[in-house]
Amino acid sequence: MAAIQTDVSPLDESAVRSLLESDQLVEARQRSLARRSLSLNTLVLMWGLRIYAVFMFGIVGYQVAHTL
């Protein structure tokens, strides 16, 4: 912790590593997280909302084209 005793001292590499959590480092964030498995109920909910959104966007798009 010596490197962080004063806020004007220049940081060194070990101080940077101690100040940031390991998964905060840019290179660590390049690693992908594993895909989660979705239950049937979740999939039905997501599909339902997606279909609703696409349908409504279609209606709005139609109204936009109709108005213009």
């Binding site: 806020d7 940077v16 100040l19 940031l20 905060q24 660590a28 964030r29 997280l33 997501m46 709005v60």
Partner: protein, 449 residues
């Protein structure tokens, strides 16, 4: 001495310029915490929450609040606005937790945990919504400064330069403070409201009685209710705050301050939104029909009633609302772009190192600005359509958020608790129902008379 190839330990990630800058910010936080300097700690840790809430008090939103005040006066909508910001807090707090625990942006998390199929759907919603909203922000910028006779090319051009200048600092902390400094001017609606000399008793009573609502529940009231909801919780806010929390470098230890930041933003934004409503409510009292008002018309019509100073504050407020939102929304697009393409996604990247990020931010702002300057474009139409798109895109976005914040594999003990889920699910159901109700009014415009 024979020197072999350098052995690189793959288990220790190399440091980048972005890491060094973030670590410098984290050191200040650590020192403030160690020395027990609470006000300094708060000052260092606030930002994303206030920005997202005041950013959402954007030009179309403030016009929507003014329209509400001018059409229905002080009554039902005053407490309703406070309620919508309570909902915004519930939703946005989850993005703070996601960002601080996972250190990943919102788009990044969706792509990683749900796959590209659902990711691209979300990103398409965000891209369309962000671009349309950006256009409306520049309409607000143009309209706000037109009150002072400033030509659109100047007002829009200067605003783009400010956006470019802020991102060119290549430092998250500096960018955030510039944006916060500009966002502070959202308070201009408060003196404008005071100059309108409203009946403060009626304002207080409205919180108790939730009324009056002149004309009852009509189609236009439902439209305004939805517009006000759409003005408070929108998809870009989810993407922006989680990514900004990650970029700022907040950790689990900072969650209390992240929540205070978000709550402070919600309280300020609600107060300023109500102030815009109150300022314009004098038009209701005078019986002036504002149904065909554009962004610039409110300040002009308010001038004879609340005076030149009040109208000036209102016009400047609209300009500021557009500018701060344009800064936040263009950043939200750049974050999402960087996260999905797995390229630079931080304000801590230099212009050269983070070129795709900065370029995306600048090009999205430039594109929207250029569109606003095109002659003959139906600008009012853009303003009307943008809230519609935001409200319709919200249900899938908020459900994904809820699934992610309850994802024990990545959130661990920071998942929603029972009480948190009751609040989050209630808010989500309310938002989804509001969106569906709005959809019904689009298909059956005469349903509620």
């Amino acid at each position: 001495v024979e020197v072999g190839p350098q052995v690189v330990d793959q288990s220790i990630p190399a440091l980048t310029d972005e890491d060094w800058k973030r670590a410098a910010d984290r050191r200040r936080v650590l020192l403030a915490r160690m020395r027990g300097r609470s006000p300094l700690l708060l000052w260092l840790l606030v930002g994303p929450g206030i920005l997202v809430m005041l950013g959402e008090n954007d030009a179309p939103s403030m016009i929507s609040y003014a329209q509400t005040g001018a059409q229905y006066g002080i009554g039902f909508f005053v407490p309703f606005i406070a309620l919508t910001f309570l909902m915004a807090y519930v939703v946005q707090e989850m993005t703070v937790r996601l960002g601080a625990v996972t250190h990943r942006g919102h788009a990044e998390m969706i792509f990683a945990r749900f796959g590209p199929f659902w990711g691209w759907f979300s990103l398409t919603d965000l891209g369309i919504g962000n671009f349309l909203t950006l256009v409306t922000e520049f309409i607000g910028i143009r309209a706000g400064l037109s009150f002072f006779g400033i030509p659109p090319v100047i007002s829009v051009g200067v605003s783009v330069l400010l956006i470019v200048g802020a991102t060119a600092t290549a430092r998250y902390w500096t960018w955030e403070r510039i944006a916060l400094g500009l966002a502070a001017f959202n308070c201009l609606f408060v003196p404008a409201a005071i100059l309108a000399h409203p009946n403060w008793g009626a304002v207080s009573v409205s919180f108790v009685k939730w009324g009056p609502l002149p004309g009852g529940l009509s189609n236009s009231v439902i439209f305004l209710l939805i517009a006000d909801i759409g003005a408070t919780v929108t998809p870009w806010m989810l993407f922006f705050q989680q990514s900004a929390v990650t970029d700022k470098g907040l950790t689990k230890r900072d969650l209390l301050h992240g929540r205070i930041d978000t709550a402070l933003g919600a309280v300020l934004a609600a107060g300023f939104a109500i102030a815009a409503l109150i300022a314009a409510s004098v038009l209701f009292a005078k019986g002036i029909n504002t149904s065909s008002f554009g962004d610039a018309d409110f300040a002009q019509h308010l001038q004879p009633i609340i005076g030149r100073v009040g109208a000036t504050l209102f016009a400047l407020g609209i300009f500021e609302a557009g500018l701060v939102a344009a800064i936040a929304i263009s950043t939200s697009s750049a974050y999402a772009f960087g996260e999905v393409t797995r390229k630079a996604r931080s304000h801590n990247r230099t212009l050269r190192d983070g070129l795709p990020f900065h370029l995306m931010l600048i090009l999205s702002a430039l594109g929207a600005a250029a569109l606003v300057l095109l002659p003959g474009l139906p600008l009012v139409f853009f303003v009307l359509i943008v809230n519609v798109v935001a409200v319709l895109a919200m249900p899938p976005a908020v459900v994904l958020l809820l699934l992610m914040v309850n994802d024990r594999d990545v959130m661990g003990t920071w998942c929603n608790g029972k009480l948190g889920n009751v609040a989050a699910i209630t808010t989500t159901v309310f938002l989804v129902l509001a969106s569906i109700l709005f959809g019904v009014t689009i298909i059956f415009p005469n349903l509620f008379g």
